[in-house]
Symmetry: C2
Subunit: 334 residues, 2 copies
């Protein structure tokens, strides 16, 4: 026979904050842990639109709806509720860590003197971010290096955003623009286009995805030079391809680079000088050999930097290292 | 009374290819749709390591295990099986679109003459990518603009990778390095460090996450100047912070920028000149005003470009547009 343990009073019950990334918004694309976290929560806090997306899971729970700009208030409310012993689900659409509530919450927690030893525990539950969901709907645009940039200047100075747009346009990334446009912020997308057109072809493929996997989902393909005129809103994500991205049969695809190594037309044999499972002949070691050979043939460092479009001092230090290594090898084998 | 419809022969049954992102590898972090897709598949194709991660779901299914470098073979096998009327789940860890099977599969399908009107249907099922999962485990490092770069030079020439590293180090992105190191590829991470140290402080926080949410999970915090000496392998993702990222109490956090607008020490009041829910005073429109005022005060375009660290011709065209707009407004109000 067991004696039932006494019910602990609220103050002694440890609370918990769960930062839940719910994915694009359809239940099918939510993780098992995200769903379970909402189910086990006493209190659910989130932006009104996200609360609606998980309405089916909320019966009997305390719901705290906040407006778009009240991120810090949401985190403060979560900490208050957790301090009272409640299990709190703070929900973000997409991933809780990508422009979501994970950052603001830790900022508020640290400000309040919280540490990981606190009775209030914190769990972050990852999910598919907008860039993953939107990419899945348009084809395979992210198959190569990509980045995410928010065009919102509510918390970030414009020169910071502009420098990032310029850098990644130049370095040929696939780019996902978050918060591209709102009722008040209409010119940011025009400036983004202007910065991209300095480096990229006007016909670079662009996909604009609105409300991915939700009821009013809308997918639009356009090109960089037409992008700013397209219908873009608060619920849109803009995907800009790299110089190899193409649209075929209504699918946007960025090749991974197999054509650099394999002859796809000829049954997939490796090209001359390339080996399956090994670095390209233009990979790091092959490139270093080329660089040394070019330097030995009399090309100076400025010329090499211009030819390879890399910084002069990077070329210099890389060459210096190679010389040092060769000397060390010579000494070792002597 | 209804007559049972005849059982269709295999050749006339439409097959399907489902590109499944299984998330980090634990079932808790798989989406409902990803799980369902594997359950409804007749054939499951994937890299041996990923097949093991979903072993519980595979009973009674045909399993095709492929090695790491056989991405194109996996896609060819998927198309072959789907053409025979089979439902095929082609699994990727993380997100199927991020360095996953979505790209190679479309490349193979297009090469084989497939179009979206083909009886073989294709579905891409998004999931949390390694950067989302790793970020959730270390704190909130991705809260601001970020990018993903693969250090693998098996399909990408090194100068392309190096230019991207240089650009995003300069523009102060949070960066996730995929495929940072392998038995054969050991120097790429050293070169990445070299490129980053040209722009970033040596004590920039770095997190190295191995096997996120799997049995042998391992999290290591280090700094940019120590990064190349850390234990990094095939299953590691390297997260490099931006200039504001900090590590406190074992958590890596990138502030979203609330401190630009709110005085967090003083109860969260907005700073002088800033308004809740509106762009910063240094946001696009405020910055354009500043730029025009500086130009009117006699600063030339080269000086302005240097001061704001933006390209000369971007400053020029932006100023020109502002002048044109002012003139148009003056005309309209005349």
């Amino acid at each position: 026979m067991t004696t039932p343990s006494p019910v602990p009073d609220a103050a002694s019950m440890p609370g918990k904050i769960m930062l839940v990334g719910i994915g694009p918004g359809s239940e099918a694309h939510m993780t098992a842990r995200a769903r379970q976290a909402i189910e086990e929560a006493d209190t659910v806090i989130g932006y009104v639109t996200y609360i609606k997306l998980v309405a089916d899971l909320l019966e009997g729970k305390e719901i705290i709806r906040k407006s778009m700009t009240e991120e810090l208030d949401r985190a403060v409310s979560a900490l208050d509720a957790a301090r009272q012993g409640r299990k709190v689900a703070l929900i973000s659409s997409g991933d809780a860590g990508v422009y979501g509530m994970a950052g603001p919450t830790y900022e508020v927690l640290f400000q309040a003197g919280w540490t990981p030893d606190d009775p209030v525990q914190v769990e972050i539950i990852p999910g598919a971010s907008a860039l993953n969901s939107c990419a899945a709907l348009v084809g395979a645009p992210l198959t190569h290096d990509f980045c995410a940039i928010s065009l919102s200047d509510l918390l970030t100075p414009w020169p910071t955003i502009a420098r990032r747009l310029d850098a990644v346009a130049m370095a040929d990334f696939v780019v996902a623009l978050y918060n591209p446009k709102s009722g008040r912020r209409t010119r940011q997308i025009v400036e983004a286009q202007r910065l991209f057109l300095r480096h990229r072809r006007p016909d670079t493929p662009v996909a604009i995805v609105k409300s991915a996997y939700r009821r009013r989902e809308q997918i639009l393909f356009t090109t960089l030079d037409q992008m700013a005129e397209a219908e873009i809103g608060m619920l849109s994500t803009v995907l800009i391809g790299n110089s190899n991205t193409f649209v075929r049969h209504g699918l946007m695809v960025t090749p991974r680079g197999y054509a650099n190594k394999y002859d796809l037309e000829q049954g997939g044999n490796t090209r001359d000088g390339e080996r399956r499972g090994r670095s390209l002949s233009t990979g790091l070691l092959g490139w270093l050999d080329t660089l040394q050979a070019e330097h030995a043939a009399g090309l100076d460092i400025d010329t090499l930097a211009a030819r390879h479009r890399l910084p002069v001092d990077y070329i210099r230090s890389t060459l210096l290292d190679a010389v040092t290594e060769t000397a060390a090898q010579a000494e070792a084998s002597a």
